[in-house]
Symmetry: C2
Subunit: 106 residues, 2 copies
């Protein structure tokens, strides 16, 4: 299993993406705290966090008996750079921003 394979497999599950959303909103949470946001047993959440951590999308730091989880955006940026070169980036960014603006006005 390659590094990028781990990243994409990790992102393939909606629960794991929701965990990234939670950490994007606020970093440094524990397993128990994240579990309370999900309708799933602690074991399921723990499995998902392990997958995210092994993919490098989440980094952790121990503090006593707690384990704090942080979002690492680097792998996300690398996905972007794989299929969007500098030239295309300008066009796509403009297009996406325009679309967002139009939808916010309606």
């Amino acid at each position: 299993m390659t590094d990028d394979d781990r990243v994409f497999k990790a992102l393939a599950d909606p629960t794991r993406r929701f965990l990234l959303d939670l950490l994007f909103a606020r970093d440094g949470r524990t397993l128990t705290e994240l579990e309370s946001e999900l309708e799933m047993t602690r074991f399921g959440v723990m499995k998902h966090l392990k997958v995210l951590e092994e993919a490098g999308l989440v980094v952790t730091r121990r503090s006593g008996r707690e384990k704090l989880h942080f979002l690492n955006p680097v792998p996300i940026r690398l996905i972007h750079d794989r299929w969007i070169d500098k030239y295309t980036e300008r066009q796509v960014t403009a297009l996406v921003d325009l679309k967002a603006e139009l939808e916010s006005e309606s």
Copy 2:
């Protein structure tokens, strides 16, 4: 199945990512042409292309009996924007570029 779910599921398979790499290098290829680059039957490749198309990562245009495939970078950009805000983007981009530069020098 939500839109973004289709995108992430589509990206989860290494063969499909390789197909995107091929289209990133050169657009407008047919199924038969893409098949020749892979060690897999035509049916497998067709299934993968269907998944990519339903995710919006690949758009197609018919030309006679041929079907031409093109890469659409918009869903990739949306993944980026989901977990990297404008402020973080500057830091992450700088970090990724620096890392690439250091590795190219060694």
